[in-house]
């Protein structure tokens, strides 16, 4: 090998090392922002679940005033509340990294829908409850919060998908694993969740 070739090879190797280093730096910056976006999205879901958890007891109290013996309904309400309470104590980072917790989040969403349907059935059965304006507006709020939960969950799925897409692209995939950013797990709702009963509201 003559000198020129040796210089050439050394230059190429040096260039590659420098390029790898600068890639690592920019990937680190980009991925940390993306990771925080994921955390923010999951914490948003927690927010709306908490909001729901505060709302439902009020609703149950009003309903209890008219329908003391609807135990099944209140059991469903209690089940949702415990679900949501458990979710609110979790760290968004833990949720991002564990499909179990994401499943629990999905379960909380479904539990709230079931509680809503149960309350609606109670309302149909008790005309006095139906006429109660307070109950009516609370039911509207609950329906709105159920919608909010599904919107925030959809958004969080989008954010995680974007994060994972970035990780697998070249040249990020070269350094992301070394720096500590791995693809995040993704809880895909089962068939029963996907086709959760559509809340058809006609007041």
């Amino acid at each position: 090998m003559n000198t020129g070739v040796k210089y050439g090879i050394a230059a190429v190797v040096a260039a590659a090392a420098i390029w790898l280093g600068s890639t690592a730096i920019s990937v680190q910056r980009e991925m940390s922002v993306e990771y925080q976006n994921v955390q923010l999205a999951y914490s948003q879901v927690q927010n709306v679940l908490n909001r729901q958890a505060e709302l439902i007891p009020n609703l149950a109290e009003v309903a209890k005033g008219y329908a003391k013996h609807e135990q099944d309904t209140f059991a469903k309400v209690a089940a949702f509340r415990s679900n949501a309470a458990e979710m609110s104590t979790k760290n968004p980072t833990d949720i991002a990294n564990s499909t179990d917790m994401q499943k629990k989040m999905a379960d909380a969403a479904v539990a709230s829908q079931q509680a809503f349907i149960a309350l609606k059935a109670v309302k149909e059965a008790y005309p006095q409850l139906q006429a109660n304006d307070n109950f009516k507006s609370l039911m509207r709020e609950l329906e709105g919060s159920i919608n909010r939960v599904s919107v925030e969950r959809r958004k969080s799925q989008q954010v995680v998908r974007d994060y994972n897409n970035k990780i697998v692209k070249f040249p990020t995939n070269l350094v992301a694993g070394m720096i500590g950013y791995h693809a995040l797990p993704f809880y895909q709702a089962s068939e029963s969740d996907q086709h959760a009963p559509k809340i058809n509201v006609t007041f």
Binding site: A15, A17, Q28, I179, F203
Partner: protein, 331 residues
């Protein structure tokens, strides 16, 4: 005949694709009547009312009406949210937009409220507005329904400025990644840095010995400092490398097996070390900053997750977001 068939096929495909879910029509103004239930005058008067409200209210909230001939399968709740976010209604950072979606053929209506207006236009209140629309909707008097809703919504707009911190969203600093994560990241990052420097240094070491033995001897012969002894035969010292048993003199070039290439490079490096320490001093070596031709990686090729709104007529929302607040109903 053939032309007719082709035209029919193309037309069928076009109409099918237009009906696909997720098709978000372009934003043309405050009134987007894609179901064609309003006359021109009605559209103008609604437009005027909404534009005035936007200009005369603090923080310029954007109330937008949309009628669609057919709802996609995802349902009005998700559709309204998708449209709101695609059109980015409301001012950026304030998210103070409202979208009213009316699907007369599906008999569904939804009021989608952005994050910023949720305190003023609560779910219960949007529900009440929808209740007041229902009698008109049952009579197919869509203009009256929309007019009522417009005025009710305008009445609910806040009259005091809201802070531009978007409500409902927690700040990110409250939940940084746990400290363990951070130190692990920086540790591995430091490892990469050291690795890079190591590779760099290795390459630098290589560069010290770029001149072949012949070049170095020639250079030495040229300089007058040294006395070149007469050329007598001197047996070459036998190398003693345990790892490269098949290492033979470099002149032949053959006999290197693949696994020993690395060993031979190191071998030649240290061999020339013995004999050329003086010529190293006399040779100028420019820095490897010549490799600045390496492209530094820029992050601009990353796509952002949100697409810009498609507005043919130059009308675009301010960049707001909605969390799904509001109310919907059928009649």
């Amino acid at each position: 005949m053939f032309k007719k068939v082709v035209f029919a096929i193309v037309f069928a495909l076009a109409s099918v694709s237009a009906a696909f879910a997720g098709d978000i029509p372009p934003l043309v103004g405050h009134v987007n009547d894609y179901a064609n239930v309003l006359t021109k005058e009605q559209k103008l008067s609604l437009n005027k009312a909404l534009t005035d409200a936007e200009n005369n209210t603090i923080d310029k909230p954007q109330i937008v009406l949309l009628t669609v001939a057919k709802l996609p399968d995802i349902g009005i709740d998700q559709y309204a949210n998708d449209v709101y976010r695609e059109w980015k209604l409301g001012q950026k950072g304030k998210d103070n937009g409202v979208l009213l979606v009316l699907a007369p053929n599906d008999r569904k209506v939804r009021i989608e409220v952005g994050y910023g207006l949720e305190p003023s236009i609560t779910d219960a209140r949007s529900g009440q507005i929808i209740d007041s629309m229902k009698p008109f909707l049952r009579n197919k008097d869509y203009y009256a329904a929309l007019r009522n809703a417009t005025y009710e919504l305008i009445k609910l707009l806040p009259t005091e400025p809201t802070s531009s911190v978007v409500l409902e969203k927690k700040s990110v600093s409250a939940m940084n990644a746990p400290a363990a994560d951070n130190s692990e990241h920086s540790r591995v990052f430091a490892m990469i840095g050291v690795l890079g420097i190591g590779v760099f240094a290795f390459v630098a070491a290589l560069m010290f010995n770029f001149h072949s033995r012949k070049q170095r001897e020639r250079a030495r012969a040229k300089s007058t400092e040294y006395y070149t002894p007469p050329k007598t035969y001197q047996p070459k010292p036998k190398p003693t490398y345990s790892s490269s048993r098949s290492y033979s003199q470099s002149k032949s070039g053959s006999g290197f097996s693949d696994g020993f290439v690395a060993g031979s490079i190191i071998g030649s490096a240290s061999r020339s070390n013995e004999s050329s320490s003086s010529s190293r001093r006399s040779r100028s070596w420019d820095d490897s900053s010549s490799s600045s031709s390496s492209s530094s990686y820029s992050g601009s090729s990353y796509d952002s997750s949100s697409s810009s709104s498609s507005s043919d007529s130059g009308y675009s929302g301010g960049g707001g977001d909605s969390g799904g607040g509001g109310s919907s109903d059928s009649w």
